[in-house]
């Protein structure tokens, strides 16, 4: 954990957003929690990063964060990627919060496209960055129509799409952003997390908040909510599996990224969750390439 800077002078409002914007976002969060899976519109503001870099997630975090929070930010599971490092520094600067890479230590975890491997707890809030909140958008371009489809629970088109995938490929080919049904009422995009993470959405002890800045939508999955990944009786939902273990920590149960190492096609599979992998290696677990230079446990320079 890094200490908060406690700067006496502040050139922006606390947590960047003005108070009225935060109130507006907070009201949308309460309604999103009251109607799990429903996309509540909100007045998304222009943020100091471009759309697609997490403006929805940043606004959600800014509306809920306080000086007692411990903030973690991950991008595709990793704490040390450009997007994660710059957003983490942003909140350390504008919100005086302590930051961490340890999943268990954080009270707010902002994530781009992964759910941490380590189970979350009741005191935690997971904030997802969402590029496209509408699961039906690829099937129906008009917002007026998709809104009516949600209003009248008209989700036949989604099943047709899954069936077409089965007819074409012999299985449901979707691997990220796999559509989910919340409490058997609202169809919800889980954001582009791998379907490997879909089972963690349901009955999770933490509060799950989703923010889409460009599309101006907030939605939520409260703790201990029923979340079902859509499937068919003869084509049940399955998550990805790997024949390899993590090359660095030897994990067999985590989500693995394939990393190409050289021009001759040499490759390794490593945990996408960098904190999970680092903790395992620190605890003495070793994979087949544990001596590789990428295995060194470097901390981000302060």
């Amino acid at each position: 954990m890094t200490a908060r800077p406690n700067e006496p002078e502040r050139y922006y409002n606390y947590a960047y957003l003005d108070e009225q914007t935060k109130r507006m976002i907070r009201r949308a969060i309460l309604k999103a929690l009251a109607i799990p899976g429903y996309q509540a519109p909100f007045g998304s503001r222009e943020m100091p990063v471009p759309y697609g870099w997490g403006t929805g997630g940043i606004q959600l975090t800014a509306a809920i964060i306080g000086p007692d929070d411990v903030y973690k930010c991950i991008d595709q599971g990793a704490d040390d990627t450009t997007n994660a490092v710059s957003i983490r520094r942003f909140f350390a600067q504008v919100a005086d919060v302590a930051t961490t890479e340890e999943t268990g230590e954080a009270t707010i975890i902002q994530t781009r496209h992964r759910i941490p491997e380590k189970g979350l707890t009741e005191g935690q809030v997971l904030v997802f960055q969402v590029p496209q909140p509408e699961p039906l958008r690829g099937l129906e371009a008009r917002e007026t129509e998709t809104r009516a489809m949600h209003a009248y629970e008209e989700y036949g088109l989604q099943y047709v799409s899954l069936y077409e995938s089965v007819a074409a490929h012999g299985y449901i080919a979707s691997t990220v952003g796999y559509p989910t049904m919340i409490e058997e009422r609202y169809l919800m995009s889980p954001s582009p997390i791998p379907k490997f993470d879909n089972p963690k959405l349901g009955q999770n002890p933490a509060i799950l908040l989703f923010g889409a800045g460009r599309e101006k939508r907030i939605y939520a999955v409260p703790p201990y909510t029923n979340v079902r990944s859509l499937d068919f009786e003869d084509h049940p939902f399955e998550t990805q599996t790997w024949e390899e273990d993590c090359a660095l920590c030897g994990a067999q149960e985590s989500y693995l990224d394939e990393v190409v190492l050289d021009d001759s096609g040499e490759r390794m599979f490593v945990c996408s969750d960098s904190n999970f992998c680092a903790e395992r290696r620190a605890a003495g677990h070793a994979g087949p390439m544990a001596g590789h230079q990428l295995a060194a446990l470097d901390k981000e320079p302060a």
Binding site: R23, M24, R26, A151
Partner: protein
């Protein structure tokens, strides 16, 4: 509605509005995410004229010029109205159907739940949130809560609710995605009940 506010009558709000409203919101968010859990808002400032500390804290945190507020007739024209108008600046309405929030201090004489806005089929978030002040959040008849946010079940025993209120809340849940949402306050304490929660009345 009085035309001019006498500033000498206006009690102070949060000493630090940014930190104060953030701290209150996190408690209210936890309440809405975990129905039946009770949180304490003892750090909030005093509210005037029969308005409890928790009720005032919720108003200061969520009301502003964008939210039409239905005020309990008991609060109308008094110090509480002046306090809310000065610190939050919300437009007030006498029409419960138009209200984004209703601040209710006398639930027995308040309009039926169906008089408030139930939301639109396409925009169910446009429904009214009722902030209901009670004598206590404990010691009343027990109801059992199940649904999103609740691991197995929760028990809530709010005191001071009129007969038939829980039947109205059950009817409110039955028409999900439509429905109003509740924030209950008493003294320093707060709990919430979203429309998604199933209610079982003990002894039914």
């Amino acid at each position: 509605m009085s035309a001019v506010l006498d500033l000498a009558d206006i009690a102070p709000a949060f000493p630090d509005p940014t930190r104060g409203s953030q701290a209150v919101f996190r408690k209210v968010m936890e309440c809405m995410a975990r129905p039946g859990v009770i949180h304490d808002l003892a750090f909030a400032p005093d509210a005037p004229q029969g308005l409890d500390r928790a009720a005032g804290a919720v108003a200061l945190t969520l009301f502003d010029f964008e939210t039409l507020i239905w005020l309990d007739p008991r609060l109308r024209g008094g110090l509480a109205e002046g306090w809310i108008r000065f610190h939050c600046g919300p437009p007030l309405t006498g029409d419960p159907m138009a209200a984004a929030f209703a601040l209710v201090t006398d639930i027995a004489s308040a309009p039926a739940l169906t008089a408030f806005n139930m939301g639109d089929a396409k925009y169910p978030d446009r429904s009214t949130t009722l902030v209901i002040q009670l004598p206590s959040l404990e010691g009343g008849p027990q109801v059992v809560l199940t649904g999103p946010g609740i691991k197995t079940e929760m028990t809530l025993a709010l005191a001071g609710l009129p007969d038939g209120f829980w039947a109205q809340v059950q009817a409110n849940h039955e028409q999900f995605q439509f429905g109003v949402d509740f924030i209950f306050v008493a003294g320093d304490r707060v709990t919430a009940l979203p429309r998604s929660t199933r209610i079982t009345i003990k002894g039914d």
